[in-house]
Symmetry: C2
C-alpha cells in the first residue's frame, strides 16, 4: 500500500458504488455451479464462420478502411447496412447519416449522460432497469426517478405524473423484452408514450438490444418505427441498437439515432471519448450484414432461446409452484420473478441467492436493478447460456434452496 496523496478523485465518483452484483459474481467460480446470473447471450450461438468470412472480406476489399482511424460517426458502409437493417424493422426514412455507430450500446448511454445530464438533473427510468444504466447516468450527476412497470411495461399514467412532477431531462425505457424485467410495452402504451413525449416535450430514450430475440410473434413495432404515426414524436426520440446479442458481443458495436441537435453534440463528445469505434470491427460487421446471413443467424438464436425460456418457465411452475410469480417473457434473455412468501417461505431474494449458491445455482437478486424503492422479493434468472438439461437441474436446485 502506498501513502501517496497524488491521486485525488473527482466528486462525481461519490454518486456511484461498486456493483453489489460483483460480489456475488465472485462466488460463481465454485465448481459445478449452474449460473442463471449472467446477462450475456450464448457465445455458442455466434456465427463464427460467418464472422471469419466477413473479416477476410473486409481485409481483402477495404484494408485501408478497416485498419485506419475512421469517422467518429461510424464507418459509412456499416451505417448503410444498419439503416437497411432498421428499415427491415419498420423504420422508414432513415438515412445512414442519421445513425452514429457506438462502442456497444453502453457507449450510447454514456454519450447521452455526457450530452444531456448536468448534475442534479432528473432522469426517469423503469423500476427495475438495467444496472449499468443507473450507474452510468449517476456518474454524470443524474438524480434518477423510478417509474413502475408491470407485465405490459412501464405504467404510462404513473409515467405521465412523474414527467409532470419532475420535468426530467429524459425518460429511459427498454420497451421490448426488458432487462431485467423481460416485460414488453404494449402497443397501446407505446402510442401513449409517444404522445406524452410530444405533449410534454420530453425526450424518450428507447434502448432496444433484445427486440430481435423474439420467440414466436414479433413484438410491437419499436417506438422509433411507431413515431411516424405520432406527429412530432420523432423529434423527442432517441433509439439505441446493439449487435451484441444478435451478431457478437465481441465486436462491441451498437448504434444510436437521435434528433439532429443532440446527434451533432453526441458525435462531438464521442470524438473525445474514443475518437471512433474499431473500424476493424465495423468493417467486419458491415461485410457480415452485406452477406445476408443475419436472418438465418437470428432464426437460429430465436429458436434456441425460445426453447430455453419455455423450459425455465415450465420448470419454475412445476418445481417452485406458488412460491414464485412471474410473467413468461416473449423474447430476450431473462425471466423476472418474485418470491411470494407463500407458506412462510423466504421472501428476501438476497438471502435466497445465498442459499441457492449453497445448492449450486446462481442468479441475481432484484434490488440493485432499482434506483429507488427496491422490491427485495424480486430476482432475475437468465436462461440464455444454459442448455435445457442444465436449466431443469438448476431450477430443481432453486427449489431445494427455498
Amino acid at each position: 500500500m502506498s501513502d501517496s496523496t497524488a491521486v485525488r478523485l473527482a466528486e462525481r465518483l461519490n454518486n456511484v458504488e461498486t456493483s453489489a452484483i460483483r460480489e456475488l459474481f465472485k462466488l460463481l467460480g465454485k465448481p459445478g455451479i449452474i449460473s442463471f446470473a449472467g446477462g450475456f447471450p450464448d457465445v455458442a450461438l455466434v456465427d463464427v464462420d460467418g464472422i471469419r468470412q466477413a473479416t477476410l472480406a473486409a481485409l481483402e476489399q477495404e484494408p485501408a478502411g478497416a485498419m485506419q482511424y475512421g469517422a467518429t460517426e461510424g464507418y459509412l458502409p456499416l451505417r448503410q447496412q444498419l439503416a437497411t437493417f432498421m428499415a427491415g424493422k419498420g423504420v422508414q426514412a432513415l438515412t445512414p447519416e442519421q445513425l452514429v455507430v457506438t462502442t456497444g450500446s453502453q457507449q450510447a448511454l454514456d454519450l447521452l449522460g455526457k450530452t444531456l445530464v448536468s448534475p442534479g438533473d432528473k432522469v426517469i427510468v423503469e423500476g427495475p432497469t438495467f444496472l449499468a444504466t443507473i450507474q452510468c447516468f449517476r456518474l454524470y450527476g443524474a438524480q434518477l426517478v423510478s417509474a413502475p412497470i408491470d407485465g405490459d411495461g412501464v405504467q404510462v399514467d404513473r409515467l405521465e405524473q412523474l414527467i409532470v412532477e419532475h420535468k426530467p431531462k429524459f425518460v429511459y425505457l427498454i420497451p421490448t423484452f426488458g432487462n431485467p424485467s423481460g416485460a414488453t410495452l404494449s402497443l397501446e402504451r407505446r402510442r401513449r408514450v409517444l404522445e406524452l413525449a410530444v405533449q410534454h416535450q420530453t425526450l424518450i430514450v428507447e434502448d432496444d438490444p433484445y427486440g430481435d430475440l423474439y420467440f414466436d410473434a414479433a413484438p410491437p413495432p419499436s417506438l422509433l418505427a411507431l413515431s411516424e404515426q405520432v406527429p412530432g414524436s420523432r423529434d423527442c426520440l432517441v433509439y439505441c441498437g446493439s449487435l451484441s446479442k444478435t451478431l457478437s458481443a465481441g465486436l462491441r458495436l451498437g448504434w444510436m439515432i437521435a434528433p439532429d441537435p443532440l446527434m451533432s453534440k453526441a458525435v462531438m463528445c464521442k470524438q473525445f471519448s474514443d475518437a471512433n469505434s474499431s473500424t476493424f470491427a465495423q468493417a467486419t460487421a458491415a461485410q457480415y450484414l452485406k452477406a445476408g446471413r443475419m436472418d438465418a443467424n437470428l432464426a437460429r438464436a430465436r429458436a434456441v432461446y425460445a426453447e430455453r425460456a419455455r423450459t425455465m418457465c415450465d420448470a419454475l411452475r412445476q418445481e417452485l409452484g406458488d412460491a414464485v410469480e412471474f410473467v413468461a417473457p416473449q423474447g430476450g434473455l431473462f425471466v423476472w420473478a418474485r418470491l411470494t412468501g407463500a407458506r412462510g417461505q423466504v421472501q428476501d431474494s438476497q438471502l435466497f441467492a445465498q442459499r441457492a449458491i449453497e445448492q449450486g445455482v446462481a442468479f441475481v437478486p432484484g434490488a440493485p436493478f432499482y434506483c429507488e424503492q427496491a422490491d427485495r422479493a424480486s430476482f432475475r434468472l437468465s436462461f440464455a447460456t444454459s442448455d435445457v438439461d442444465k436449466i431443469r437441474e438448476g431450477v430443481q436446485r432453486l427449489a431445494r434452496a427455498l
Copy 2:
C-alpha cells in the same frame, strides 16, 4: 428544422467548441491536394497479412474469448502480451493486472477526466498539446493551464512554478515525439519531472503513443521506466500506451497503467463507458504480439517515417529558408514549425494555411493546440502519409504560398 424543445443539453457542453481544425479538413477534398494536415499514421504500413493471420488464430483458438463480452480490465492474454511489450521497453515489475486495456488511448484520457476532474479543477498541459486532450478534459470542467515547451520538451522550472501556483489535479505530458510539437523531453528533465511529482505529490500523466516510432537512436526511457530510479514516483504516475501508431489504428486499442486507487476507479468508470473494448480486436492484437511480428513491423515503420521526416526537414530548409524555424524531430509523425516573419513574410499561420490550400497543400495552424496564449505563428506538418516525392512537391507549394 424542428421546433422541438425536448432536447436540453448539459451545461458541460458550454466548455468546448467544435474543432477549428474540422473546418479546415472540409477543404481537403479538393482534388490534387497534398495533405500534411492529418494526424494519422500511414495505413499502407500496416501489416495486414499479420493481422489476418492473428484474427484467424484468435477465431480458431479462442472463439469464445473473441466473440463474447470480456472483462472490463481487458482480455487477459492481451494484457500479458502488453506487459511483456512494456518490459521490453524497460518497464520491469509490471504485472498484467496493473494494466487496463482501453478503446484507444483517447479513452484513457476520457477515463482520467471522468475519475479525476471535478468542474473547476486545474490541469496542466503542454503548450502546445494534443487537441483532443484539451477538449476531452474541458468536457469534465477542467481549467487548463499551459506549461511552455522548447526542443527538449516541457520547461521544468516553469512547470514547477505552475504546479505550486495552481495545485493541479494532474499534469498531462507527451514526453516523447510530442503531438504537435515533435519535441522529446530530455533525460535530465524526465528525472526532474519525477522528482517534482514526488515532492509536490502531483499526478503526472505520460501519454506515449509515439515512443516506438524513433528514427535513429531510441529516445530516453519513458517516465514510467525511469520511475524505478526515483523513489515514490511510481505512485504519482499514469502511463497511456497505444497500438494505433504501431500495429493498426483500426483495432482501436490502447492501455493505461495507473496507481492502484486510480486504476480501480478507472475500471469502474470504463464499465459504464463501454463495458469493455472489443474482445475481437483484443484477441487479434494478442495473437499478433504473440506471433512475434511486432519488431520487424516497427523496424519497417521507423525506416519509412525517418526518411520522410528527413526529406521534409531538408526541403523546409531548402525551400523556406529563414522564413520558418523548427527543431528536426527524432521520431513520431510531426514537424512543428514557426513562421519567423523574416523579410516581411506572413507570420499568421491561419492566413498561411489558407494561402497554402490555394497552392494545393494543407497543414494545421498551431493556435488550436494551445489551451491559452496561442502562438499564432506556429503550425504542424505531418510527414506520415506522403511519400518523399509528394513531400518535396508539397513543401515547394508551401514556399509558393509564402
